[in-house]
Amino acid sequence: MANIQETISQLCPTATFEQGEELRVTVDDKQWHGLATQLKENADLGFDYLVGIFGCDWKESMGCIYYFTSTKTQQHLMVKVATTDREHPMLHSVSDLWKVALFHEREVYDLYGIIFIGHPDMRRLFLRTDWVGYPLRKDYDANPELNPVRLGQEPDEDATATYVEEADGTVKKIDGKVFADEEYVVNFGPQHPSTHGVMRLRASIDGETVLKVDPMCGYIHRGIEKLCESKTYPQTLMFTDRMDYMSAHQNRHCLCLCIEKALGIEVPRRAKIIRVMMDELMRLSSHLLSYGCMTMDMGATTAFFYGFREREEILDIFEKTCGARMSLHYNVIGGVVADVHPDFIKDVRAICGKMPAALKEYHKLFTGNVIAQNRTKGVGVLTKEDAISYSVTGPSGRATGWHCDVRKTAPYSIYNELDFEEITETAGDSFARYMVRMREIEQCVKLLEQLCDLLEKEPGNEYIAPKVPKIIKLPVGSWFQQVEASRGAFGVYIESTGEKSPYRMHFNSPCLNIVGSVDKACSGYKIADLITITASLDYVIPDIDR
């Protein structure tokens, strides 16, 4: 840590440091881009993985927090860059260094109005182009008359802009267009059979070849982060189940871990085991759904039902213990809401016993099929460098050979006690992504069998920490926690001023990064491949839109 601090202070003498869980650096915007380049390229630092950019409004200033991880040393670094100008807030873009910033900076621009100098495509990401104001600013006017429900088409949806800094320091706006007039643009969504929800992709095509894809997000943006700021901590938990509904347990687990970390609550061991079991069941069900949806998008409708057949049984297990099949609401601060159903272990063992035979059937039906192999192999290739640059984590990231499993890189809960393998492939194409998921199903089964043994050995029925305060107030400070959700690293950033509700709560979702890479992955392939690639990347829309 000290080494990093020394290197940074040499590069940027005005930077101030603070030691939290990880090193926190505050830099001035003028030095920021130079430092960012060094952070990425300097071998001593090597922060090549930008986990996320969290915008924040501190009232006297506004700015961003950049959270970095080094893929080699797994060290973390938080950089804070702020501006005091509220009228025309501007920061320098780092999208030329980390491609993931392309979408994250657009999100910050959308919600805070901070313009990023040098960003090639400065448009709103979630909200309509005619939205008035920037919702996450603390002085935002939520008057419904300013932003009525508009029923017409968005004006100028093709208009974009780039802000360029001249030599004398003035910033010039250059207007542009996403698609040129002569391009043949085909619209997929927001109502389309294979966008898996209300996602909209616009693709410029030449014959059957896709030239460029422009994902348009925000059709189900619910402003969860804004809502959280007016809710108490236990109330914010319910939103996590509604982001990536296929990683409901993991997301909620993450938020609980973050709050518990801030409060210093130690969760009972039994609750930890139950949480991890639920996480793995969720991952299993998510990968089964992913198998079903991918095969169905490629036209193999029967395979879809095979995946769903086994998934139903997992949902039955959830229903018995959590009382719900979709929005499960099981983790709470300090543990889980209730002990597991008496049949739980028996049911989990039953599904573990069934999976090997079912997997064999899936492979027979789809994996080995010559059409399926031709459709997926070599299609939508992302290299390891692309995956890191776009921060594509989870099975899609591991398919490129990047070891990005948070369960291994930064083990939380009881994962370091468990014996499992981090699955990676090297090809980075759709088939590799598909195979990572299929092989992770085997690992889930392996984990669940171990966890069943652990849970049986665990005496007592203590499923929640005894000393959880009635009114939960986090101390002043900020915390960041990541878990491995079904689709990649899911992070929660909380900033607290000591109140009952968070000052700022940011959810760093894996699917937003995945969607950011769609253009890269799809360009140059066929229309049919666009569907295969998006299906194999496997994003869930509510997680993008939050």
Binding site: Y184, P193, G299, T302
Partner: protein, 358 residues
């Protein structure tokens, strides 16, 4: 074998005895037309039910179960629903071509339907280029699909129609070549003579390896020509929502839907005519007792049974395989099926010339 020709001849004589010849012909034409359309509609309904049930079984489901016993009335309910649906008027389309397209598709389908040999003596027209006529008539359908895609003024339909044009024209070559292979073996293009030539063994068994190759090519290419999975690119649901018929509603959509199912029956019917002996029962030379028993099964049952069996195979791979991509689809045809088909045609010619077939 009961010859339905005796009934039709008797009916013809009856009409001729009470009215002039031209009037009898007109009445016969009308009756045949009505019967054909009726059979067409009933078969379509049967096929929809057949596919839904089969696909349900492949997918660990039950399929329609609520309307009528085993859901047999479900299809009638669906058809009735399609009939009473509104035809939505669209702005900015080529109205004439838009309305014409479904009729072209269904006419092509009905015309090729009429050439099939239904049973012993049950055939509408039997002329010396019957097979040729069948190929020509079924090719008309692509025109309707192209027009539908073009006139809808929609990007999905246009892409669907262009795919369909490329696909159907390509795959027709292979269908034609494999049919030609059998024509070479039979030495005739007349439908009735083709059936008669298979009295002592179906062409699939008589034609050596060459007929088997032709049969396999025919099955693949026919699936491609009818736009069914894994070659259902023109309406690839997950890419183009519904492809060329995205904008159609009501009975216009119904026509496309019916034509799709009936084309499945037609290609199955042609396959049973060319390879499995049409309505001809399974005869094994020398096994007279066996052949006698086979003859007791009515010829119509033989024909329908064979057609349904081939449809079953086509439905089976539709519901098992993922969809191919357009470049792979064309590569399959032009790089594999057509060269193999051409080679096979030469092989068959040699077999026939040297009399090496059974």
């Amino acid at each position: 074998m009961f010859d339905f020709g005796s009934i039709t001849t008797w009916f013809d004589n009856l009409l001729e005895s009470v009215m002039p010849s031209w009037a009898a012909t007109v009445i016969e034409c009308v009756i045949i037309g009505v019967v054909l359309l009726l059979v067409y509609a009933l078969l379509a309904i049967f096929y929809i039910f057949y596919e839904r049930k089969l696909c349900a079984w492949f997918q660990c489901r039950l399929g329609p179960m609520r309307v009528g016993p085993w859901g047999i009335l479900q299809v009638f309910a669906d058809m009735f629903k399609i009939l009473i649906k509104e035809l939505i008027r669209l702005e900015n389309i080529d109205r004439f071509l838009f309305a014409l397209a479904p009729y072209l598709v269904i006419i092509a389908s009905v015309v090729s339907f009429s050439v099939l040999p239904w049973g012993n003596g049950l055939q509408v027209i039997d002329f010396n280029i019957g097979v040729f006529f069948m190929i020509a008539a079924s090719s008309l359908g692509v025109l309707g699909i192209l027009l539908a895609g073009w006139s809808s003024n929609n990007k999905y339909t246009l892409i669907g129609a262009m795919r369909s044009g490329a696909q159907m024209i390509s795959y027709e070559l292979s269908v034609g070549l494999s049919i030609m292979t059998i024509v070479v073996l039979a030495g005739t293009m007349s439908v009735s003579e083709l059936v008669a030539a298979q009295a002592d063994g179906w062409f699939l068994f008589k034609g050596h390896i060459s007929a088997v190759i032709a049969f396999i090519i025919y099955l693949i290419a026919a699936t491609g020509e009818t736009n069914r999975g894994p070659f259902d690119l023109p309406e690839a649901e997950h890419e183009l929502t519904a492809g060329y018929h995205t904008e159609y509603s009501g009975i216009h959509f119904g026509f496309f839907y019916l034509a799709e199912y009936l084309n499945l029956f037609i290609v199955s019917g042609i396959a049973s005519l060319m390879f499995l002996g049409g309505w001809m029962p399974l005869h094994i030379p020398g096994w007279d007792g066996f052949n006698m028993v086979m003859d007791y099964i009515p010829s119509v049952v033989w024909f329908l049974g064979k057609a349904f069996f081939i449809s079953f195979i086509i439905i089976w791979f539709k519901w098992s395989f993922p969809r191919v991509r357009i470049d792979q689809l064309l590569a399959l045809e032009w790089k594999y099926l057509m060269p193999i088909g051409l080679f096979n045609l030469v092989l068959m010619t040699l077999l026939v010339v040297y009399g090496l077939h059974f």
